[in-house]
């Protein structure tokens, strides 16, 4: 006997969760199956909609002749990307026709963001406006983003209060002084200083940030002092490190930490530190392991349970189990060696792109492994990329091609299966890294695919 549902969502990230909730809200009985813990825990926790519109054509045409790896272009020949955009919606019409935003429409992005706001509640900010916020990221750059964790709020770059960035010598991925320097170079409208303090030194050299977060959550004693107090004491001597333009000393109004200020009790930890320091406290989103990503994952899975969606994590969907009349009837789930059919009236594929393993590739081609959907790609491998690393890489846009209902199309542009919908990173056409649009694409396609799948299932 198969496991039945109206809509089966394959995947576990933002797109999968969005589509599952969207379908459930249309009255469908929804089940979500994901193989591994979501790659959300590696993500920054920022929700980008559209930060830049990068150029897709070089200023001067490519060199004549057959396409080869020698498609060398001077990087200066690329026009600068347009942005940072203050309003993500106004940039959509300048994206290529094949971009998912152009296919599902700006309204889908708006609805996706609204659904996200609803799911995360007061844990996120930015929902009051269409405009992007500028959030410092741990590389020292400033990123335009549509929604940001409440923990990052006090750090917005549009704010002009003097700022201290705190770092820790043993936290090697994060150099506070260099960070502050890069922020200054980026032209932020505030005075900023970086300082390395001793706190993490109480732990072993390669302590995991989850360990530090737990110690702060529980306010564990570190050498006899509660962790939060110990951290505040370590930072306090640097509150006057910032220099104003005249070279004078200035007391900072806000202090930025790497994102490890607690997990379950982050608000409490931040509030206590702010109280002790007499300055606002914010977190700077970091690379993996990312606590903002983990917290978002927890939040979204709670929302999924609240929406009545059944879900399981731990077993992969390995292929189509039954198909007829252009429809998929069931997919096979590998439960530790035994394949079990999961039947549904409609399916949403939200397995992610190359990083999330929703797309599989080798030297011969790029494939979508679950439904074997068509992935648009040049047959000549040398046309998959250009030499300019930061240029318009064709492979960055690889993925399945959706119609306006998010149904994947085959090589001839026909709908491949009437009841299969795709959302998120597995959908091609967007260069999300250059555009800063990954979450927005997931939300817009997720809400569309989920709703359409529910409609299909209800018929």
């Amino acid at each position: 006997m198969a496991i039945d549902s109206d809509v089966l969502v394959v995947g576990g990230g933002i797109a999968a969760i969005t589509s599952a909730v969207a379908a459930a809200r249309e009255g469908a009985d929804v089940r979500l199956v994901s193989h591994k813990s979501s790659t959300l825990r590696q993500a920054s926790g920022l929700i980008d909609a559209l930060g830049y519109v990068p150029a897709t054509e070089p200023a001067t045409p490519l060199r004549e002749g057959p396409p080869t790896a020698g498609r060398e272009l001077d990087r200066d020949e690329w026009p600068d990307p347009e942005g940072p955009l203050s309003d993500p919606f106004e940039g959509i019409e300048r994206l290529p026709d094949s971009h998912p935003y152009r296919i599902v429409g700006a309204e889908a992005l708006r609805e996706g963001l609204a659904l996200f706001d609803d799911l995360v509640g007061d844990a996120y900010r930015g929902g009051h406006t269409d405009r992007n916020a500028l959030v410092p990221t741990f590389g020292g750059s400033v990123k335009p983003t549509a929604r940001y964790p409440a923990a990052a709020e006090a750090g917005l770059a549009s704010d002009n209060r003097p700022t201290l960035i705190v770092g820790f010598r043993s936290l090697t991925e994060y150099d506070a002084r260099a960070f502050a320097g890069r922020l200054e170079a980026a032209g932020v409208p505030f005075d900023v200083a970086g300082a390395e303090v001793e706190f993490v030194e109480a732990f072993r050299a390669d302590t995991k940030v989850t360990r530090i977060a737990k110690a702060l959550d529980h306010d564990e004693e570190i050498d006899g002092t509660p962790a939060r107090e110990a951290l505040a004491k370590a930072v306090a001597p640097h509150l006057h490190d910032a220099e104003d333009e005249a070279g004078g000393v200035e007391r900072v109004d806000r202090v930025g930490f790497p994102a490890f200020l607690g997990d379950d009790r982050g608000n409490e930890v931040r509030a206590e530190l702010a109280d002790r320091l007499g300055a606002d406290v914010f977190e700077i989103p970091m690379g993996p392991p990312s606590l903002p990503g983990l917290r978002l994952e927890d939040r979204l899975y709670d929302a999924l349970a609240d929406a009545g969606v059944r879900f399981e994590t731990g077993n992969p969907v390995v292929g189509i189990d039954a198909a007829a009349d252009g429809r998929v009837e069931a997919v096979g789930v590998d439960r530790k060696g035994r394949e079990t059919p999961y039947a549904a009236d409609a399916f949403v594929l939200a397995t992610g792109g190359l990083v999330g393993k929703g797309l599989d590739s080798d030297r011969d081609g790029v494939r979508e492994p679950v439904f074997d959907l068509h992935v648009d790609q040049p047959t000549d491998r040398y046309e998959w990329f250009v030499d300019d690393v930061f240029g318009d890489q064709p492979y960055a846009r690889f993925g399945v091609r959706p119609d306006e209902r998010c149904r994947p199309l085959d090589a001839d542009g026909e709908v491949q299966y009437e009841n299969v919908f795709a959302a998120g990173g597995v959908v091609g056409g967007a260069d999300v890294a250059r555009e800063k649009s990954a979450s927005g694409v997931s939300l817009a396609t997720g809400v569309t695919a989920g709703r359409e799948a529910a409609t299909e299932a209800n018929e």
């Binding site: 825990r41 927890d298 349970a305």
Partner: protein, 513 residues
């Protein structure tokens, strides 16, 4: 010591093999006596012999020759068969020696591909409950792919911290690249214990005792009242702590006055006969010796759905042995289990377990670590008990409209080993439409006991620190009865909150049977 005597000793008197309820008796007799007798069922190996390289050997001859030909061929070349991969030098393979699956030349488990898949995203470290409370612990990424690479150099010892890994296997589910982390940890731990651990040390002896729980439980359960009373003698646990390093804060689990197998024999075995719906119950040690009510619930629920229940002879699943690097012990037990379970599978049964660590061990760790004929069959046919019903029966329909006479709220904790099998939500979802049942998921933290880990004196505090979040969430939850599928998680839940803990099968029994 020969293998046979060792086995007899560990078996606690072989009380398992001659029970009337064992449906395997007949066929065992047919296969035990003669090497030449072909087994009546396809796919069932002969009993009592290790067939080291066989899963890598293509079926000899053609299918026309049938199993009889294949088996006698194998018998003729026992121990000398060339592996299909050309790697195993089977003549050198000592079945009793340390042996994670020997796949490639050189005799070592070749995990190169797994190590290469690691792109150091640190998702595993982020999900590790031990790293969260113990900054001395370098985390699964180091213990797995990094240490595996370091080990390629002959002069490199295994880092002692490998013994701090509790084998919760959360790293496996976290890894987006499917790096076989827990397999790497098990293998490294086995090697550490085998080559670097002082065999006369208190720690080794303690670990050996903890991981061979079944051996001691089988003795204690002969005199359950005495054993229970002895554990309550003031100072008994203090002696355990001082002499052996067993956490004195814990209460030794009570032994049932009647084991599950005794009950099964007394009731005359299966009450339902059904050649089309058969399950072989892997009860594991805990539901046999300590909580037979779980096993009884399983039997009653399955018989309610018309299943014929078989209870094959069995030993420990090996989980506590893997976690303590006692791979030789684990292998010995695995041989018996695979032998008997494959036989049941040959008779049309699927294997079900009520303990999620047992089912995970049979499904995943067995084929990862051992190369025993039929081990893949066992893996493919094993399910957790509630999972199996959810796949094969319309439980939703069955439970719709049912109600629990006395309203009850439960605080449910999903064991790490249930998560790994994709079962973390099954109890919550199964009972959500039953009138009178409130089931609250207490979150995704680890309980912290991780089998034998929390029983060790030096790990006790860490174990409680890991569990603190679960205790808090349980106390915040509506219910004051806990629920989980894992016996040691249940111990920890009880220890940390004082709640009574039930297994979902017991609730299912109250609801449908």
């Amino acid at each position: 010591m020969t293998r046979d005597t060792q086995r007899g000793g560990d078996d606690g008197g072989r009380e398992t093999t001659d029970e009337p309820g064992d449906t395997t008796d007949g066929s065992e007799g047919a296969t035990d006596g003669s090497d030449e007798t072909p087994h009546p069922e396809p796919g069932v190996p002969r009993v009592g012999r290790d067939e080291q390289p066989s899963i890598f050997v293509p079926d000899e001859g053609d299918s026309a020759g049938g199993d009889a030909a294949g088996l006698s061929d194998r018998a003729a070349t026992d121990g000398g068969v060339e592996s299909a991969t050309g790697g195993s030098d089977s003549a050198d393979l000592d079945p009793d020696a340390y042996d994670p699956v020997d796949v490639f030349p050189g005799g070592d488990l070749d995990l190169r591909e797994g190590a290469d898949s690691c792109y150091k995203c640190t998702s595993c470290d982020t999900s590790c409950p031990v790293a969260e409370v113990d900054e001395e612990f370098p985390g699964p990424k180091f213990q797995g792919p990094e240490q595996w690479r370091l080990k390629r150099k002959d002069d490199h010892d295994i880092d002692e911290s490998i013994t701090s890994c509790s084998n919760c296997m959360r790293c496996d589910s976290a890894c987006p690249s499917s790096v076989p982390l827990s397999q790497m940890h098990n293998e490294a731990r086995g090697q550490f214990v085998e080559e670097q651990m002082e065999k006369l040390s208190r720690e080794y002896i303690r670990n050996r005792i903890l991981s061979n729980y079944r051996f001691f439980a089988s003795i204690a359960s002969k005199v359950p009242r005495l054993a229970n009373a002895a554990a309550k003698i003031p100072g008994a646990m203090t002696i355990g702590e001082k002499v052996l390093g067993i956490a004195g804060e814990r209460d030794f689990p009570e032994f049932a006055t009647q084991t599950f197998r005794e009950w099964w024999r007394e009731r005359g075995g299966a009450q339902v006969e059904n050649p089309d719906k058969r399950v072989a119950y892997f009860h594991g040690c805990y539901s046999n010796y300590n909580t037979p009510e779980v096993g009884k619930a399983m039997v009653r629920v399955y018989e309610h759905f018309g299943y014929e229940v078989m209870v094959p002879p069995q030993k420990c699943s090996g989980t506590p042995m893997f976690a303590n690097g006692m791979l030789k012990d684990a292998r010995r037990h695995a041989e018996t289990n695979v032998e008997n379970l494959v036989e049941a599978i040959g008779e049309g049964a699927d294997v079900i377990a009520s303990c999620t660590s047992c089912s995970l061990s049979l499904r995943q760790e067995y084929p990862e670590l051992f190369d025993i004929h039929g081990i893949e069959d066992v893996s493919e046919h094993t399910f957790e008990a509630l999972e199996y019903l959810r796949i094969h029966e319309d439980l939703d329909d069955e439970l719709a409209g049912t109600e629990l006479a006395d309203e009850q709220s439960f605080a449910y904790h999903a064991p790490c080993h249930a998560r790994n099998q994709g079962l973390s939500r099954q109890a919550v979802e199964t009972f959500r439409d039953v009138e009178g049942v409130e089931m609250e998921d207490v979150g995704d933290s680890c309980s912290g006991i991780s089998g034998t880990y929390g029983w060790k004196e030096e790990k006790y505090e860490k174990s409680m620190e890991i569990g603190a979040e679960m205790f808090e969430h349980m106390e915040d939850a509506e219910g004051d009865v806990g629920m989980t599928e894992c016996p040691t998680c249940a111990m920890q839940m009880e220890h940390g909150t004082g709640y009574e803990i039930k297994h979902p099968l017991q609730l299912l029994e109250d609801t449908v049977a």
